[in-house]
Symmetry: C2
Subunit: 186 residues, 2 copies
Amino acid sequence: MGRWEPDAAGRLRTAALELHVERGFEQTTVAEIAERAGVTARTFFRYFSDKREVLFGGSEHLQAAMVAAVESAPAASAPLDVVAAALTAAAEMIGGNRAYAEQRWSVISANADLRERELMKMESLAAALADALRGRGVPDPRAGLAAEAGIAVFRVGFERWVSGPTAELADVLAAALADLRVLAAG
Amino acid sequence: MGRWEPDAAGRLRTAALELHVERGFEQTTVAEIAERAGVTARTFFRYFSDKREVLFGGSEHLQAAMVAAVESAPAASAPLDVVAAALTAAAEMIGGNRAYAEQRWSVISANADLRERELMKMESLAAALADALRGRGVPDPRAGLAAEAGIAVFRVGFERWVSGPTAELADVLAAALADLRVLAAG
């Protein structure tokens, strides 16, 4: 994401991440983020409820894309194949900008409050996927299990992708899901 | 857990839960918890760092029991069978007091801060199980995946046990793990 893209939200996200990497999350103020993005603090709060949220603004889009993939998967697909489609949708959305993902991850990993918020986002993502699976007729507890297993694959795969050698996120996630299948069969 | 058990930590846990159920978590003070347990607030803080922690004091014991089960599983066991042994250990520790588990769960579910702390505890539990699996020679990412899958089974199964009809926790967890195996094979 370049600094000069026209949308203020995107500029604020980029500016926040730059400053967090340079100075640390705690040492960065909303005023400084707004200044670097070329907007006022008031504009910042039009887009984000607090300083933490600027790092998580993309999570609604991610959730919407994954839920849409669950809803549009072929009717005959098995639950974990439906989850695989959601993981592919996630990889399409965030796999193209590894530098951004790496920086964001390094900032979040270093701060307990941010890790908590990330966990809460993953939790609501799992709940949304479980709901979408129930909407396809998958009964409980399988809907919840398939959704939680999908999030486990996403988290383990994402961390591997973002901290390992260069690879496509879609491939890393597919490999992790294949590994889970091997584990479950073993 | 009775109110008159001799240990102060246990009395404080019971008193806290009673008050949370009666008045809600936010409306209960540490002074009130200490008073009901028959100790001083100073004693409370000898055992718990804050008001939230009194609800999570058992989590180190749970983690220790699950890690010990992983470490003492037969050398030839497959990773998910090792995780199954850890789930059995968890059921032995917390399955015997459903009334306490139900009350604790209702308090935690109703409060976002408590749900966050619960997620963080589950996260460190998953990390500890993954480490113990690596100690057995299970390579990454399988160690992380097996641990996260185990926690997914634990969470889905526990919620089902605590909010559903009477059943043994060990049986509910075993059924959830079997369901995950079916999903992964499907």
